[in-house]
Symmetry: D3
Subunit: 227 residues, 6 copies
């Protein structure tokens, strides 16, 4: 449940070692390692190709067309954080630009995930400040209404609690609960270890049908080959 | 109000000096300098990264699937113009490609803004002919129905009159009325002058909360800090 | 009409010479050469800029969130094929990633067209394995339900029969029926031959109004020039 | 061009007799009578079936999530007016409900057209207060930011000036400029007079092909009948 | 593959008895009886609640904003036909209204399915002329470009051949190939016969878990009950 | 965080008296009484006009195109429950129809809220079984993959925990956490008590500008009246 008008100052951030380990995996691998959960919706896209991000969430709840809480969030940042911003209604306004990016970076932030609009994207790319957003829009915002900082939010369909690990890349954004971070990192590593072997086999022409022993189940399901 | 079947030959283009001055600012800055108005909707995207454009509008009103009026518009172009095309219904067909771009450039056009589809985008990128469009689509169009050229149009939610200044970049497209062009350019310059100082402060770790004196208003609005 | 649970092993692929000839033209030219038909809807976008593809279709019918049939399709691939995958309902899940790309390439595939989601796009770009998709999404899929391989499908609004020629570039995806492939290639060549001359004229400042003799038809349609 | 922070008190409303005459025609007929212009986009839908509206526009420019200006507009209403509200960004929040409807009706308003959300739709239907909106949403709005009243706005793709005639029905919303109101009403009447005869002929089995003499043009365009 | 500029006069319509039998089933039942294929996409909605339709398809291929071919189609209608219209690009213009409905009905048509816009919906409801469409829009169309009549079309994602059976209700639109019509009708009848018994059991409180013997498969799949 | 493959049998349902009290208020009032939070996104619409619902949530997490968990949920229902179903990806398939409604009703359910598709809507309306859904679609689903029952879900952008109060009407769907149910009901009652007086004043012609004392704040914000 959203709460408005609140800034939570203390919360447990995911273990740094776990964040660093998770940073080595793609979002697809992490999402699989968690049991196929934790992804944001695919409308969340990086503002430049090749952007990559891993850090601990400082959450922000915004109102449409109002970025006041982004300034409040800046004070709560620590080295290695990622700002994750949701909005109470679907909105594409440009809540974030190069000035806020300068401030966030100075306070330790590694990037932004926002279910809203972003602007100054050329400058942000030049700064290599990674942002995943719903839209790119030059439209400015006001500073008039209280949202919240560091409450649980729902961002692009995913629940985010302050301190959770956020990993984002060209494939999207995944959220790993702080308490599960190392366990998920381990599972991701195990999964990736298996993939190298699979990749080699597939590259040599072995079929997934055989490698995954699918022929029996397919036949049982009734698949028919015709000429 | 749209008018169909009309080509207006004479109209006042915005002052060249004002256009040149506006060309130096981003769309976000210009939109703010105008009092947060004049932006097109964010579905208007450049066909290649880094595209930039500033010029005076020659407007075109199209019907879905019909680009006849684009050829009529070509004759009305002067050095420094930008073609701005709206459609009477939402349509993604490819109204524009490399042949029209060749013609438009030969007649002095600097680029195109179209609330419809564009094709030959690889060639257009190679030509460095900038286009902002609703979609990219190979679908061809016919030449059968009269629209208009140089009437007031509504393009992607923004009113555009012939002669208005169009500035477009990675953040979107903004329209500056011809009569306000120099005044807006001055306001944009003033705004940008202030930003350098702000950026330096923020980069040094000063918070927007303090720089913009937000703590009092936030407290008055009822913001609560909890642990 | 879709058929479920079927894999067709034998069908006539378009003539290789025709495919090679078609590979030299853009999708816009080919679509025009076919009489303005055969395009997929414009939501089908390449996962990296500059992607290009021409080959013969191996078709796949998927269920939302289930990529089992992609593995079945791998076995049916021959050198020069393109996998074309449709889904029984609009779905953006990541049906395809770098492991399947490795397998498809090992079996001779030149790329993928999928009316669904794709993941591992950074890896796919590094492999230069071209994909056109509805979305990019890290979301994994299951292997539980039978679709079909090499039945007639409707992909992004276009009918695709196994063996048809698929050409895809930055402008979109076009489907050429196998039996028409050389005829369309010839028509595309004829069309392109005419364009060089047109381009030169337009570049010299000749107007389309004159080059296409449009002034009479426009006047007859009632176009009025005003000052 | 939008202007913010302004309330225009005096403007010329369309002639009452013209409004009354236009009220007798459907939006499709009026739009055709104006030369196929003046329609809002089709996402504008009535909140209950059978709603009908004709009146003179009082315009409102809103910010996303903020309905402050609706209260300002109430004071500017006269008998026979219709409130037409646009928003500076796409937004579905519930800007309007039964309390504002009660106020608007008490001040003479006949209904509302809003490119945003509406709530209390059951109550509004019971009151028979007609509304055309982009969405239905229970979400409340704040009162914090200045927009404008009675400036020219762009609402759902259509330009609306204060005093223009608004006609809305199950097919959508059409805007008739105040100065053209009687002329359009006359053209609509003429058009409708012709339709009765056409309808009778078509009902008797006469084909449009013959009634509109289309066979020649179709043949000339190359239509081929095959068996 | 679409063909433009063609009217096919002779084709085999589905057996009347099969159409009549299919008319007794809902679209969901028919789609299941066909093996879960044949449905149009869910954006196709009836223009009034309770609309129902069953008949044989006369197909029309339209261009955006152009309804010329609808008049050509009228001549090809026979008693019991349904007009099914697709468009070469996504378009919401009002291709169809009460005059065409009058003509179509006089020629024997039972209704319309159109992947485009419809207008005069109040009149059409009064006439009880059922229409399923992508949109409702007052926007008029022109008559300038050749499409086709009675070629195979793809309408809202479904393949439709002339003579196929079309059944439409509040749940959507389903297409039954002419040659399969009676077989599908029989399968639908068999399916519905089973449902009465199931409904009675479920109404008495029996669980689907038991009725469909799902407990074993769920346990095998790993479902865990926790407290 | 989603969990897959789990059915939680025991949880605390909101107090019955609080549910009954909340049933007396509209979703707009309840959402305001909670501090403007708790609403689902506005794409959630009732399948018939006038539908109303209040009950305690039994939650379901589905996969696209798979309704297996709906049967698992049926067993967990108690008198007065509402099934609330989310999907791991945006999907419009018809997960629910009259058979499941019969079963749910027999087990005590008052209705359904599903961020997916619904079918058999005519039958459901006849049964007066209220459903709010993302779409209406005849498309059937399979039973192959484990989701969960009674875990915390995110449904149409709102967090729902099992036992929460769900109220739904023509304006949308609101979620009240179980622990806050009576407090919110009291706040809603207080709010509604104030509205009767406001409504009477507005009906008599008093302006919101005066009733809410807005003139001062508007002047302070800089609003200008011009003639």
């Amino acid at each position: 449940m959203y709460q408005l008008g609140i800034v939570k100052r203390n919360f447990v951030r995911a273990d740094r070692a776990a964040v660093d380990k998770l940073a080595g995996f793609g979002t697809a691998t992490i999402h699989e390692a968690m049991g196929r959960v934790g992804l944001m919706q695919p409308h969340m896209r990086p503002i430049y190709a090749g952007a990559h991000l891993a850090g601990t969430a400082v959450t922000v709840l915004l109102h449409p067309g109002d970025n006041w809480m982004m300034h409040v969030a800046a004070e709560q940042l620590r080295e290695g954080d990622v700002v994750v911003a949701a909005c109470t209604a679907e909105n594409t306004d440009g809540f974030f630009g190069d000035l806020l990016a300068t401030s966030f970076r100075a306070r330790g932030a590694k990037g932004l995930v926002i279910d809203g609009g972003c602007r100054d994207v050329k400058d942000l790319a030049a700064m290599q400040f990674p942002v995943w957003s719903r839209a790119i829009s030059a439209k400015g915002t006001i500073k008039a209404t209280l949202g919240s900082v560091n409450v649980r939010i729902i961002c692009a369909g995913a629940e985010v609690n302050p301190g959770d690990v956020i990993v984002a890349d060209d494939d999207g954004v995944v959220v790993v609960p702080a308490a599960m971070a190392m366990q998920v990192a381990d599972a991701a590593a195990a999964r990736e270890a298996l993939e190298a072997d699979k990749r080699a086999k597939l590259a040599s022409g072995v079929l997934g049908l055989d490698m995954y022993a699918m022929r029996g189940p397919l036949e049982k399901a009734g698949l028919k080959y015709i000429d």
